[in-house]
């Protein structure tokens, strides 16, 4: 477990995330967001969950980022006039971060080293999905269709 790699990736990811949060232009924010997500996927890889990483990349960068970009296209008119961030939010975010880290560092039970685990093969995930979690899988399927239809209806309204 190369913790060095993890740290580097984490730093990259956080930088991209921070950029996404603060950069003025919306498009750049979206791209940096995508980059941040790639970083997260990489972290997943490091943590041994390749499949989830790939799914993350697949879902977020493949679909969500494109969706966001399309939305930006559709609402281009006022994207430019985004004023600077208001400091209240920033303060609050920092406070929350401080609180969380304090909580994490406080609880000793969490300071453990990664145990050796069997590599998580896609087969095992497949089995788990198909046996123990088959019902949630169906529900998520249903949810996704419903969400997509909903989104379509919302957006399609203009066609009439």
């Amino acid at each position: 477990m190369s913790s060095a790699a993890a740290v580097i990736i984490a730093i990259l990811m956080l930088a991209a995330a921070l950029a996404a949060a603060t950069v003025q232009k919306l498009m750049h924010a979206t791209l940096s967001f995508a980059l941040a997500l790639v970083g997260v996927a990489a972290l997943f890889f490091l943590l041994g969950a390749e499949f989830v990483g790939l799914v993350l990349v697949f879902v977020y960068i493949g679909a969500v980022a494109v969706l966001i970009v399309f939305t930006i296209l559709l609402t281009r008119r006022d994207v430019g006039n985004d004023r600077d961030a208001n400091w209240g939010g920033a303060l609050l975010a920092v406070a929350v971060f401080g609180g969380l880290t304090w909580a994490i560092l406080k609880t000793q039970s969490v300071a453990i080293v990664a145990p050796h685990i069997r590599t998580l093969t896609v087969k095992r995930i497949g089995e788990a999905l198909m046996t123990g979690y088959v019902w949630p899988l169906q529900c998520v399927g249903l949810l996704l269709t419903a969400a997509l239809i909903g989104a379509l209806v919302l957006v399609m309204e203009e066609k009439r």
């Binding site: 209240g88 609050l92 975010a93 609180g99 969380l100 304090w102 909580a103 406080k106």
Partner: protein, 665 residues
Amino acid sequence: MSRWIIGHLWLICAVPLAAALAILSLPNSRHKSAATLAVAGQIAALVMSFLAFLPTLQTPGFRVVQNFTWFAFGDNALQLGWLLDPLAAVMLTMITLVGLCIFIFSTGYMAGDKNFVRFFAYLSFFSGAMLGVVISNSLLLLFICWELVGLASYLLIGFWIERPSAAAAAKKAFITTRIGDMGFFVGLLWLYGRSGTLLFYNGGNGCLEGAGLAMVGASATSIALLIFCGAVGKSGQFPLHVWLPDAMEGPTPVSALIHAATMVAAGVFLVARVYPIFSLGAIEGVTSSLTVVVWIGVTTALMAALIAIAQADIKRILAYSTVSQLGLMMVSLGVGGVAAGMMHLLAHGFFKALLFLGAGSVIHGCRGEQDIRRMGGLRRLTPITFSTYAIGMMALSGVPLFFSGGWTKEEILHVTGKWPVSRLPYYLLMIGVVLTALYMTRQIIYVFFGDRRTGSQNAHESPRVMTMPLIVLASCAVLFSIVLTPAWPWLHDYLTDQSAQFEFARLIQPTLFLSLVLVGGGFALGIWMYRKAGIQDRARPAETDPLEFTQPGLFRFLENKMWIDELYVRTVIAFSWTSARFSDWMDRSFWDRLARGLGGIGQLFGIFTAGVDERGINAGIDETTIGTRGLGRLISGAHSGQIQTYLGVIAIGVLALLLFYAWLA
């Protein structure tokens, strides 16, 4: 046939009532058919009562009773019934016969009147009610018919509605009789309360029979006196007689039928009917109630006779004479001579009807003139009326031997003489007889003798239809005495359930001579006092009365009916007037103020609660609502619609949670 009649006694009173209804339905113009209907009804009633009369002759002590239940309430039922006994039979025949004569007379007398039809309807209605009183076997049924009779008398007295005096007289008659009826009704209720039934004869336990009477027991005298009040009211005895003279406002046949023969006789008949109650617990025929009856009878007789002397109106004199004769009958009943009283009642019915009809034909002749001082010299102008009237006068004043009145009067004098309680009534009655003779001669002289005065200038004899009834009644007055003489006292024995034997020797009785003396004296006194009455005398103003001339004080006292009316006005009426005003005042001032006061209190209370409500509760509620709205606005401020603020709040929440844990740990 007679068997059938006994079975259907109610038909006798039903036929005249039916006739009355039929006549009422006729339009006012049909005089002829109305008259025929009424007379036919009366004839039918006469025939039926005669048929009913026959069987009562065979068996002494004859009594037939038909009871039926009027209505049932709860477990006990109210029963009424029809009764036929000698008393009822005799009364039936007398009423129907006299009624028939009067009906025929009034067809002539009322010919000109535009309400002819209505008159005859009322007449037949009256006769039906009167017959009902006579044959009823229950005190309640008797009372019902009694009230109908009162109504009929009211309608008939006030027949000429347009004359205010007639209307007032009708009201007066009705109210005074009602006062008497109140007493009668209370007595009836009391009797019902005590004896449990109002049927007279009900196979042994009627209220007049052994069982019922026993139950009545102690309260017999008070019940009797209360019932006697009814009789006093209806027969015009002393305290309640004021209405009878004023009742003369009605047409003369009415006065004849009602105020001479039948209705006023009802009171006497009532006392005779419920005689057992009066005489319950009598010690040799004397009870306190009977003594009361005697004394009331005597006072009425004497007082009426005195007033009659000073009266100027021909009908008013007859009215007072009726009152005095009724007083006489009451005395005879009081002293125990029920049969004597009833016989006098029957005789009186005939000759008093005759006198009234005679007066009617005189008035008819003089074209409505009623004041005797303006009449005179009618002896030659109206010979038939004069002769019949003279017969009637003689019968009334009790001339012995030939006239029924004389025999019955002697009988009554004989019976009062034997009254153990006191002899005073005997002597007072003798004075009464003399006075009767006096005022009758005065009237005869004024009306028929002397020279003609203004009223009777061109008097003419009444038509045959009027004179025929006069003749019939006159003959009855005379022939009736056949059954009354002591030689063959058939009526007396019939009424007292004995069989009569003829015995000529008893004809002459000592009282015969006594009455001869009394009547003769009366005539002599009258002729002497009024010998110049009929003649125009310069010395005296035309209309002054010799008695007035000689004894102005006494005359005026008598003329004004002893100021009894004024006395009543000043006492009873004054009392009611003042009490009315007092209650009005009370109502207006005291109760009104009290109500308004209570209202005020209520209002006060209302104001108070309104105040509390207004300032206390409303204010409180308003404050709270304003408060809540303010709070609501405050909180809604938080909902600024800014999504970011919501997120911020959540973040703060997380922080707070963390801090809380930190604080806990």
